[in-house]
Amino acid sequence: MKNFDEKRREFLQVASALGMSAALGGYSIQTNAEGHRVLNARSHLKLASLDPGYMVGGSEITIQWALMPRLANFTFEGGALGWAPSDFVSHLSQPDGSHIDYTLKPGLQWSNGYGELTSDDVKYSFERMLESEWKGDWSALDHVEVKDKYSGTLVLNKAFAPIWALALLSGTGTLVCKKATEEVGGKYTVDVPATCGPYVMDWIPKQKVTLTHNPLWTGPKPYFDKINYISIDAPEAAELAYEAGEVDCTKILAKTHVRWMKSPPPNTKLHVVGALQYMWMGMNVDHPKLKDIRVRQAIQHAVDVDSIIQGAYEGASIRSHGMVCPGLPGQRKESPVDYNPGKAKALLSEAGVSGLSLVLKTLNVQERVLAAQIIQANLGAVGISVKVIPLDSGPFWNMGQESKGDEWKDLQIWLMRYGGSPDPHSMAQWFVKDQVGIWNWERWSDPEYEDLYIKGQLETDPAKRSAIYVRMQEIMENTGAYVWIGHEPEVFAHRSNLAPMFAPSGEEDFARFTAA
């Protein structure tokens, strides 16, 4: 039994914490009546599959990381994305560009009596990815060599620098239990046949996933005893839930980020986890109206991107100068293409073009329609009339794809946004020659770009790699087919006494959440 002094001290601590919280009017992470540390986090939970080979992504990756083993964790040393051995391995190294050695910690147990995590599980997990829906992320893997029960080597078919960001640090780097997965036919959805992570889950469809300590887990105990990962689809509803104290951590909209930077809810910290989206206005170089590069260059100079960032995104989006997103090797900090309506008019005049009218297509999303209207006004100022057509996602995503009909032939200019993994390769892949008529809707190709695309995969020196991707973006810009606009950041709001850990693409790594 505790003595009076201890009780008095505890009482004073709790009372002062509550008093401080009441005085500030804000919420903070608390322990529940049983003394458990409980975190309520918002999920945009479309739980369809927890199988790393067949998942959709997003919140599913967050849950996989809580339940399943992996070889590497992401790190952010000096603001740069890196990797470190996970709690499941005693050794992880890359002796050369095409080999990655690992040694698992002994004694890590799968649930449901499936025994220990072994090297056979690693081999099975990664080699099955080559047949999965996410095989693109693992295209560089040749095979996994098993040395003994706990150690082995990932053998790549070539040096492939993006293997970490694309595969090992992402959801597709999750390990599964060979025996259990084979018993359910080699594939599963939401009923994970065996888990081996710091947490176990309980799922109420369309409501929440509850994560609690895994009794079999022998690794470091996570800080939170219980995590309610609550499904809230609408981001605005999630923000209200945060303000009402019902969730302690949520992703917020870019416009809310701007508002909360000026006046945040009490006891709140904002956390920009990354900006892996890249938005641009594309031009179809094959379209008769845009075939002349001077017309495309005129359009590049006619669009006032800063006005779009301010007018459509309230300053919340980061100005873009290329496809490579902030924080990644190869990000361009500036571009020679500036807003210059006079130069635009001169280029049009040089090309002998007057009275040009174009159709600008965009997804029917508020910010993008606003951006389109600003572009319409900008181009109108240099004598190009623009008709804006907002589209539903169905027709929008088909319009540049040759396999979906003939609409690509009429496609002129459009607003586009792609998202990627935290490696420039994931951005560059959509603009190679093979992607013309698939995702390269601008329909250009360049031998130097193709060559650099391969070199970028093989190069492991960060400075040289960075130079490769900078040059690739210059090539893209020189086609005149791109007006780079912005990188919308992924921002989370959380209680001040929470120290979260997010992947750059916005997934929460709950096992690494602690108190601030």
């Binding site: 479309k46 509803a237 209200l240 794809q401 995702w439």
Partner: protein, 314 residues
């Protein structure tokens, strides 16, 4: 009566079939390739082909519909193409939340709307009637999603009296009840106005009937005339309206389900339409259409039970 019941049930089957056919046609008329929308950029041609085969997208439309209708007749609504879960399980997981929300919303709307309508009808064109008329029309005119957001900002964020999101902890009825207050307030508010206006119109009509005037002439107490004789008949059209309204709410609570992050059938259908998950949309629509048919049938039977004239005409 039995013949009427059988006739209505057969008609119900036709209605459900027609609803299914309409939804099926609408889904396939929606622009955009369902495979691209569902699978996104990562899907290879082989995976797209597998998906199309799984969804029977390569079959003629009529074959696709017959496959679904044939399975539905045997009680099999198929499986979700992503999670492989049974559609019937997914739908019946969500249905109770929607039924409870619709029931609580319509119940409070009845409890407030009918007395408001009666009050207006007792003193037509008085200042009370005009104020109540203004309130009724106001509740109809204000969009429910606005009411939801205002209620949420006031009661959950500013006053912190009520919870914002979810349906409450399973096994904790008090928690579930508190989570129901704001959504059912928002959903039911518009129905208060409808029911009050309908009850007022019916009451005014009934109050001029000979039997009511005779009751007044006999010197019966006003409460007896109004509540025992007039209201009993005047409420009949309202019951039919409530039946239709309840059926409507089974799929019309989607805005509240999204804003309050509640599970429910409306949100399920919305999500699945957006991801072109046809089997789940079709299964959910079939179940809601069947519920709608049952609800209106129950309302009609209640009217027949209350009104001997209707009962004898069946």
């Amino acid at each position: 009566m039995l013949a009427y019941l059988i006739k209505r049930l057969l008609l119900g089957v036709v209605i459900v079939f027609a609803a299914l056919l309409t939804v099926f046609c609408l889904l396939h008329l929606m622009p955009g390739d369902p495979v691209s929308i569902a699978l996104g950029t990562r899907a290879t041609p082989e995976i797209q082909a597998q998906y199309a085969e799984k969804m029977h997208l390569n079959d003629p439309l009529i074959v696709q519909f017959l496959i679904f209708a044939g399975q539905a007749l045997t009680g099999d609504l198929g499986n979700d193409v992503f999670s492989n879960r049974a559609v019937s399980v997914m739908v019946f997981e969500q249905l109770p939340y929607t039924v409870i929300l619709a029931l609580s919303s319509i119940t409070w709307a009845i409890l407030v709307g009918i007395p408001l309508g009666c009050l207006s009808a007792i003193r037509p064109n008085s200042w009370l009637d005009r104020i109540l008329g203004l309130i009724s029309v106001g509740t109809i005119a204000i969009p429910s999603f606005l009411v939801s957001i205002w209620a949420l900002l006031l009661f959950a964020i500013t006053l912190r009296w009520l919870p914002v999101i979810g349906a409450g902890e399973i096994g904790d009825p008090l928690d579930q009840a508190t989570h129901l207050i704001l959504p059912s307030f928002a959903v039911g508010l518009g129905w208060v106005g409808y029911i009050a206006r309908l009850a007022r119109a019916s009451m005014l009509e009934v109050m001029n009937e000979n039997y009511v005037r005779a009751a007044w002439a006999f010197g019966l107490k006003s409460n007896t005339v109004i509540y025992r004789y007039a209201l009993k008949v005047a409420v009949l059209p309202t019951i039919t309206m409530i039946g239709i309204g309840f059926g409507h709410l089974l799929s019309g609570t989607v805005f509240a389900e999204i804003i309050f992050a509640r599970p429910g059938i409306g949100k399920l259908i919305f999500d699945m339409v957006m991801s072109r998950n046809f089997p789940v949309v079709q299964g959910a629509v079939m179940v809601t259409a069947a519920m709608y048919v049952i609800t209106t049938l129950v309302a009609d039977l209640m009217v027949a039970w209350l009104d001997p004239r209707v009962r004898e005409s069946l």
